[in-house]
């Protein structure tokens, strides 16, 4: 059949007449049927194809927990005392919507010359992508990358000893400012490993970029809850313990 087709392509006009005669001749027709191969054509119905998975699957579980890193760093001598709770909403095994909320208490200084204090609350919200979602055997762990948007609401105060100058005698300075805000962006990732039934642990690391702070008058913002010292670029570490609650399957 392939040979007939190829010959026809080259010599279409004369051969076409011959072929017509072949088909009209019973004998020739018998001979042509012997050389014709029957090809089965299967028409695939679109409905039989596997449906594409939606970009965002339905939520399958939620995780709640705490970040152990802030209290550990406080024990190790950090000026920040923070307590943070975390929540994660798992969309399938691919995307995780994450949120953190915490309270912060900051105290810095050398006691004799000055004391800087800050108190406030903060929250973060972001999205993570699980790099191991395609691994069907990998249901016990996640390696995620993602981002966080952070927002802090706080107040601060400074008490210090002012030295005598040409204009003023030695004095005790006392500055306070409230209703302060700061926002920042974090980029990084985390590891979630199943410890035992529904309990997950794992570290996290993020690079943080300050986006903006509220303008202050007399006292510059020195430390920001959840962000740290008021620098343009910082790094944040975390160690999370989370309990997973799966949606009940209908």
């Amino acid at each position: 059949m392939k040979q007939i087709k190829s010959i026809c392509r080259l010599y279409w006009t004369p051969i076409s007449i011959l072929l017509v005669g072949c088909f009209l001749s019973p004998g020739a027709l018998a001979q042509s049927t012997d050389s014709v191969k029957v090809v089965k054509v299967i028409v695939v119905n679109d409905s039989l194809k596997k449906p594409k998975k939606p970009f965002l699957q339905a939520p399958r579980a939620v995780r709640v927990g705490v970040n152990l890193f802030p209290p550990i760093s406080t024990v190790l001598g950090s000026d920040f005392r923070e307590y943070e709770v975390n929540g994660e909403l798992l969309f399938g095994n691919k995307y995780i919507l994450a949120g953190d909320f915490g309270i912060s208490d900051i105290e810095r200084g050398d006691v004799t010359n000055y004391t800087y204090e800050g108190q406030g609350t903060y929250l973060r919200i972001g999205l993570d992508y699980n790099n191991w979602f395609e691994d069907k055997t990998q249901t016990e762990a996640m390696l995620t990358i993602g981002f966080r948007y952070g927002l802090a609401f706080f107040q601060h105060a400074l008490r210090y000893e002012g030295a005598a100058t040409y204009w003023d005698p030695a004095f005790q300075g006392n500055l306070e400012e409230s209703s302060l805000t700061a926002n920042w962006l974090e980029v990084g990732g985390s590891l979630r490993v199943k410890l035992f039934d529904n309990l997950f642990i794992g570290p996290a690391a993020y690079i943080t970029f300050i986006l903006g702070t509220k303008e202050t008058e007399e006292l510059a913002i020195n430390a920001i809850p959840a962000y740290g010292l008021n620098n343009n670029l910082r790094m944040r570490l975390g160690y999370h313990v989370l309990y997973q609650i799966n949606w009940k399957k209908k």
Partner: protein
């Protein structure tokens, strides 16, 4: 790498906690240096000649005026016994304005008697760099209070409106008719 991490966490979850603590210790040990001098609170003033723009060396009394009474303070900042080409004027950490009086004789000037008053206004903000560096004060947005200053307005020029601790950096220039 992935299997190694999983092995660490499955076999010893505390190892990751220890690793994190080590990283934290590394961060805690990294401290900033005191790169800024916390005492940048002096206004660097120069007098320049009107005709050629050269810096003048003057022997004048410079004295601060009390904020409330307007009377001269007891002590002189500079006296006529010293001939100086630049004057470092202190600011106040408790107020946003300072006033100075300049008295003396200017050699070679058409009007040799100098008896003028200069009032400067500024913004200040307290900051903390590091615990070892202590509290520092930033002075910025320095400007001339034209209502109180007796020097001609156009003769007082703000060169740099923030205070830095560099002796060669001039903040303020005043033009005088002198040689």
């Amino acid at each position: 790498m992935r299997n190694f991490l999983l092995f660490c966490f499955y076999s010893s979850p505390s190892s990751s906690l220890i690793l994190s603590s080590v990283l934290l210790l590394g961060l805690v040990s990294c401290q900033e240096n005191c790169t800024e001098d916390p005492n940048a609170n002096l206004i660097n003033l120069e007098f320049i000649a009107r005709d050629d723009g050269e810096v003048l060396s003057l022997a004048v009394d410079v004295q601060g005026l009390d904020f409330t009474t307007g009377q001269p303070l007891d002590s002189l900042l500079f006296s006529q016994a010293d001939t100086l080409s630049s004057f470092q004027l202190p600011i106040s950490s408790l107020r946003d304005t300072v006033t100075f009086r300049f008295q003396g004789v200017i050699t070679g000037a058409a009007n040799p008697t100098l008896n003028e008053q200069l009032t400067l206004v500024y913004d200040r903000q307290v900051n903390i760099i590091e615990p070892e560096c202590g509290v520092s004060e930033s002075i910025f947005n320095l400007r001339n209070d034209t209502l109180s200053t007796t020097f001609p307005i156009n003769d007082v020029m703000i060169v740099l409106n923030s205070l830095v601790n560099e002796t060669n950096q001039v903040n303020l220039q005043i033009i005088l008719d002198a040689n």
